[in-house]
Amino acid sequence: MLLSVRDLIVEFYTYRGVVHALNGVSFDLDKGEVLGLAGETGSGKSVTAFSIQRLLPANAKIVSGKILFDGIDLLELSEEKMREIRGQRIATIFQDPHTYLNPVFKIERQFLDVLEYNDPEIKAIRNKKEAEKVAFEKAVEMLKKVKMPAPERVLKMYPHELSGGMKQRILLAMAYSLTPDLIIADEATTALDVTIQAQVLEIMKELQREKNLSVLLITHDLGVIAENCQKVAIMYAGRVVEIGDIKKVLTSPKHPYTQGLLKALPRTDKEVELVGIPGTVPDLVNPPTGCAFNLRCPYATEICRTKVPPYTLEEGSTVACYLYGGK
């Protein structure tokens, strides 16, 4: 098991009070597997991504839990050791490429910086000019892999001269260039046009297959998950409520929230009657007792309101719902 997250609890300290962002998140990601992490706003999926990389802001605290990466508990590591893992073994691609590329530096400078500081081969080269040359060539090679036209020219450009899709592909190239074991894509294609999104996802698929990478694909778009992942974990209010094989979860969802989500999704492939989920996502400063979904769930019973449901196995999927036992 490459990545094993166990009972992760994360809190944010804000003026409004303590925000219980993650309330016991657990999931596994195997080597070469693509796991989708799905949820709406407030579900905690981005917080999970930041927690794994230990890049949470100053007002956040990982209260308890384990994040086992290749056997190492990332939460026990020193910042120095974590820095070695970040980027080299776990790379993250975020949603908005505009904010993740420095507008005052050419792409070349940013890409080469990444390689010169992290790539062991390039770091080993004594002569600085020599190292830069090697890094440049590697950058060009990676850009070709993400189907970037005229890579040498692109490297000499500034971020604002490039489109969103191109920027995202550059970030992809940078992430893959260090041959990480795990890639976390946090809404990496959400801000892109649909046709560009298809392009970028295709490239990600190819790269994943080529190096047998593990990918944690975080998005609210179940369509993207259906077409790119093998497993999916559905998150709600800081907990994983259902996790299992893609086919099982999306065609016969077990958790009422998953069911509600799928019924509320308008489709291009068939005629549907949309049914919204009544109510709203709970306030994480005052989360409801028991199952966080109980206020909106059509099947809620007394126990749902009092105790958090444990995970049970149901037809191959793991669900946190009293409908399937655990009482």
């Binding site: 046009d193 295709e202 369509g223 509320a264 709203t280």
Partner: protein, 321 residues
């Protein structure tokens, strides 16, 4: 006989780009080029496209936030392209807009009640019974009287969007431009808002222009759809027909690119090469020539003509001419 409530003819909008010390015009953003379409009374017409398609600009021109460079807007049979003053105010009572981000389109300092009452006062409507009318509006969008006293930041995303819809309805419009009305909402809330819009249309015969990049909601609520690419309309048809039988290579690629949440569905994805269009370059001949997998020589020379494929299905493509 279904009437067209609004028709835009040969609508073109070029934004000048100013540069240099003297702020001379150094170029243009060719946002909208020769777009003709109409919306029928009581119907929803979807305008779909990606960034650079010009769909948002069309919406803004229709609600007169900006004026077209050329072309006409005909509303209820009258040419309203250049209306001003009193005529403009009348137009703005009949034509409204719902914006994408409900939080950004409300004044964070005004309560819902103040916002609604302000509109009524400006148009001198319901004098003496403003509060009752405001309450009725809230109920119409599925909210209650107590919400009148809330500030935008005290409401959830879905509630805010409902309030924005209520505000648009307060002038008793006939036609509403919906610009990405659910883009900033969560999926579970999106469904509620879409159903509300559908319901309102059924009850009050509102006509909608739905501007979005989301094909799924187009399929859900629009009766007819026009696809735009780079400021040009490339295909238009009744929605069902469009999904069953797309003809323009862009439409086909677009539909193929939309991810479907059904893992059992096996289909061939068409991945378009190249980048989305840069609207600074003028459109000469077919705007899709750089990325079209079926491009021919003539596509680079002349703009494809409007080809009528029957059953109200029009396409602009040399392949189908």
């Amino acid at each position: 006989m279904v009437t067209e409530i609004i028709k835009i003819e040969n609508l073109t909008k070029h934004f000048p780009i100013l540069g240099g010390i003297l702020q001379k015009t150094v170029g243009y953003v060719y946002a909208v080029n020769d777009v003709t379409m109409s919306v029928r009374e009581g119907e929803t017409h979807g305008l779909v496209g990606e960034s650079g398609s010009g769909k948002t600009t069309v919406g803004r021109i229709i609600v007169k936030l900006t004026n077209p460079t050329s072309g006409k807007i005909i509303f209820e049979g009258e040419d309203v392209t250049r209306v001003k003053g009193e005529a403009l105010r009348n137009y703005r009572r009949k034509v409204q807009m719902v914006f994408q981000d409900p939080y950004a389109s409300m004044n964070p300092r005004m309560t819902v009640k103040s916002a609604l009452l302000e509109v009524m006062n400006i148009h001198s409507m319901h004098k003496g019974s403003e509060y009752e009318y405001a309450t009725k509006l809230m109920e119409r969008v599925g909210m209650s009287e107590e919400h009148l006293y809330r500030y935008p930041h005290e409401l959830s995303g879905g509630q805010r969007q409902r309030v924005v819809i209520a505000r648009a309805l307060s002038v008793e419009p006939k036609f509403i431009v919906l610009d990405e009305p659910t883009a900033s909402l969560d999926v579970s809330v999106q469904a509620q808002v879409l159903d509300l819009l559908k319901e309102l249309q059924k009850q009050y015969s509102y006509s909608y222009l739905l501007i979005t990049h989301n094909l799924a909601i187009i399929k859900y609520i629009s009766h007819r759809t026009t696809v735009m690419y780079r400021g040009v309309w490339v295909e238009t048809a009744p929605t069902q027909e469009l999904f069953k039988n797309p003809q323009h290579p862009y439409t086909i690629a677009l539909m193929s690119a939309v991810p479907v949440p059904d893992p059992t569905l096996k289909r061939e994805k068409i991945i378009l090469k190249g980048e989305p269009p840069n609207p600074i370059e003028k459109v000469v001949a077919c705007p899709f020539q750089d990325r079209c997998p079926y491009v021919m020589d003539i596509c680079r020379e002349k703009m494809p003509p409007n080809t009528d494929l029957g059953s109200e299905h029009l396409v602009r493509c040399w392949l189908r001419a």
